[in-house]
């Protein structure tokens, strides 16, 4: 491992020198267009653009320069809020570190993302975010919501019995921690109702594929799904 670490360090040095013409393959400049494609993986939780709202994750409008964990109306983990209080602001450098392995930089964050090893992809993504959230916040109509159609709309119309939800939720809490911690299994506390219901239906309809989640959701009817959404939506992450 140690040897590989040195090689990586050497590679970084070579990459840095690359711009001066020493390396065979100079690393390309960050490209927001490529970054937009990378962002496709983030869209399920994060909205950008003029109408961006908080969803499963906080919206990213005005991200650069924003204090970590500081948006009103979003239930951050205490770990994220603490980092913000301690002075963490989002910029190219801090985003790059965070996106490479969120749990290493902010242990206890409830962002269920394993991290992105590819530094080039991170740079592209950050370039896209910088463009979309600062330079042209209103240029993208953010059709994220539209093409998601009305999947789960019947369940969304049901209020959901939180007591029933609490019992049903006990099935989920064997893996998904009530505290909102994510240790290899995503956090599902504090999600907006619609997002929660949509995700469940995406498992039920094979849009999302995961053996355990498809099993777990197969026998859930609209009442059950609405009850679960009500229960988990009402939990605060620790």
């Amino acid at each position: 491992m140690r040897k590989r670490g040195r090689l990586t360090a050497l590679a970084c040095v070579l990459a840095a020198i690359g711009s001066a013409g020493f390396a065979a393959e100079p690393s390309p400049a960050p490209d927001p267009e490529r970054g937009k494609a990378v962002f496709a993986a983030c869209k399920g939780c994060h909205q950008v653009g003029a109408d961006a709202r908080n969803g499963i994750g906080p919206h990213l409008d005005g991200l650069f320069g924003r204090k970590a964990g500081s948006l009103d109306g979003f239930a951050y983990s205490s770990a994220m809020r603490r980092h913000g209080t301690d002075g963490l602001k989002w910029d190219r450098k801090s985003l790059d570190t965070y996106l490479s392995d969120p749990q290493v930089m902010i242990p206890g964050t409830r962002m269920s993302f394993r991290g992105m090893e590819d530094a080039g992809a991170r740079a592209d993504l950050i370039a896209y975010l910088e463009k979309i959230t600062v330079s042209t916040p209103a240029s993208d109509p953010a059709p994220v919501e539209e093409h998601r159609a009305e999947i789960g709309s019947a369940a969304m119309g049901i209020a959901g019995d939180p007591a029933y939800g609490e019992y049903l939720a006990s099935e989920c809490l064997t893996c998904h921690q009530q505290s909102g911690r994510t240790d290899g299994i995503p956090s599902i506390v504090g999600w907006p109702r619609e997002a929660f219901i949509r995700v469940i239906f995406e498992y039920k309809t094979n849009v999302r594929r995961h053996q355990v989640m498809q099993l777990m959701t197969a026998n859930l009817g609209n009442e059950e799904i609405a009850a679960l959404a009500a229960y988990f939506g009402g939990l605060d992450p620790q």
Partner: protein, 434 residues
């Protein structure tokens, strides 16, 4: 232990004081809860594993001071059988699979009694502790796990455990097996005697073989062999293990069912041999996993049938023989559900809801049960099997199931290992409240 002896008053007084401390400063609001606590019905749970501790936590969490919850467990700290194979494989420390009861006491007001429960007096509705003191109950939950049946393997015995560890109840046996395993030299043979159904953790013996092979391979002990002599003609996730062994440990693991070995005649701890109809196998390390039955306290209380396990009502986990008693986990006859920590944890939630329904009249929803078992084959390769279950006419039946497929991509198998680690964090938080 005097504080937990014959009269329940001392425990209730403790609850009274703890309750008072918790609400100190809340003014007159404190009074009603103290009155309720003093008269609260008593729930006693015997066994602090995945079934018992989960039940204690859910009852205490949801009923608050309306119920007086006491958890009786012989060990001060609990080492999980699940993931103990990863300890054997050098992927986990012993500490990381060992958990205390502090959070259950501090955060949920559960009275933790660190003592061995020796008997249940069903008519008097009390549990007898090893020191002779008694703990009265209105509802009792028994989750004692399994006892190994030494005599099911001729030549095996309680004493022979020290030479041929079973390590099927996590703790000193697990450490002993690891010590013995770590002392092996290249070329020395390991034998695993795998038990007949039904037993705790159906894929466990084969995950253990995988973890042994993982270590042998890393040590360069390529001349060593692991031989599994099985009482069963087939086993859980067999195709997946066979595929994984071929891929990662070619030639290192040999599995023989009864149609090959013809029957296991017995073991000899003196010579390290296992006698079968086909041949005599010799191992520098012999891991004998015998047949199993419900923990003694459940059998002695007359709660087991002639299978050695305890029949229950699948709608509630209530004993078929006593309306005031619920049986959870490995000790129960839970129909299609395997004997696993996940299953016990799931059953505990159904029982907890029914206990609260009995004693405080809270709403009881239809029982739902779940299980998923992950098994590690290699560091970055795990497979899984799972099911959902519901009470049926013939006991608990499966309503849907899945299993990993052969030829799955490596990244899916790697994701399974991360998911398994996440599950461990999740379920232990759900069980022990920390």
């Amino acid at each position: 232990m005097a504080g937990h002896s014959t009269n329940g008053l001392s425990r209730r007084q403790f609850g009274f004081l703890a309750g008072a401390a918790a609400v100190a400063g809340a003014g007159s609001l404190a009074t009603p809860s103290i009155v309720r606590a003093a008269n609260a019905p008593r729930v006693v749970i015997v066994g602090g594993g995945p079934g018992g501790a989960t039940a204690a936590r859910y009852i205490a969490k949801d009923a608050g001071e309306a119920l007086d919850v006491t958890l009786i467990e012989a060990n001060p700290r609990y080492t999980t059988c699940f993931f103990s194979n990863l300890y054997l494989g050098g992927l986990r420390s012993f500490d990381s699979i060992t958990h205390g009861y502090d959070a259950l006491e501090a955060n949920y007001g559960i009275s933790f009694v660190n003592a061995r429960a020796s008997a249940v007096e069903r008519d008097a509705q009390q549990v007898v502790l090893a020191d002779g003191s008694r703990v009265a109950y209105d509802r009792l939950i028994i989750a004692p796990g399994v006892d190994v049946i030494h005599e099911s393997v001729p030549g095996y015995s309680k004493e022979a455990e020290e030479i041929m560890p079973h390590a099927w109840k996590a703790g000193p046996q697990t450490k002993l097996l690891k010590e013995r395993f770590d002392a092996l030299e290249n070329g020395q043979q390991i034998i695993i005697v795998a038990p007949p159904n039904p037993y705790r953790c159906p894929p466990g013996p084969y995950e253990r073989a995988s973890m042994f092979a993982h270590v042998l391979k890393a040590r360069g002990h390529t001349a060593s062999r692991i031989i599994i002599l099985d009482y069963k003609p087939k086993f859980s996730k067999q195709a997946l293990f066979a595929e994984g062994w071929e891929e990662f440990y070619p030639g290192m693991i040999e599995w023989y069912g009864p149609d090959v070995h013809g029957g296991i005649q017995g073991v000899d701890p003196e010579t390290g041999t296992v006698e079968t109809d086909f041949d005599t196998f010799t191992g520098a390390l012999v891991n004998v996993i015998p047949a199993q039955k419900a923990g003694m306290i459940a059998r002695d209380a007359g709660l087991a049938d002639d299978t050695g396990y305890c029949p229950i009502d699948g709608a509630s986990m209530r004993s078929a023989f006593d309306d005031n008693i619920f049986i959870l986990g490995d000790a129960s006859i839970a129909g299609a559900m395997p004997k696993s920590a996940f299953a016990a944890n799931s059953q505990a939630k159904v029982a907890a809801m029914n206990v609260r329904g009995d004693l405080v009249g809270s709403k009881v929803f239809p029982a739902r049960y779940t299980n998923t078992c992950w098994s590690l084959i290699e560091t970055d390769n795990a497979v899984k099997v799972g099911g959902q279950y519901a009470p049926g006419a013939e006991g608990i039946a499966s309503t849907s199931t899945f299993i990993s497929q052969i030829h799955e991509p490596a990244d899916l198998r790697k994701a399974n290992t991360e998911e398994a680690a996440g599950w461990y964090q999740g379920i232990t938080a759900d069980i022990f409240g920390a």
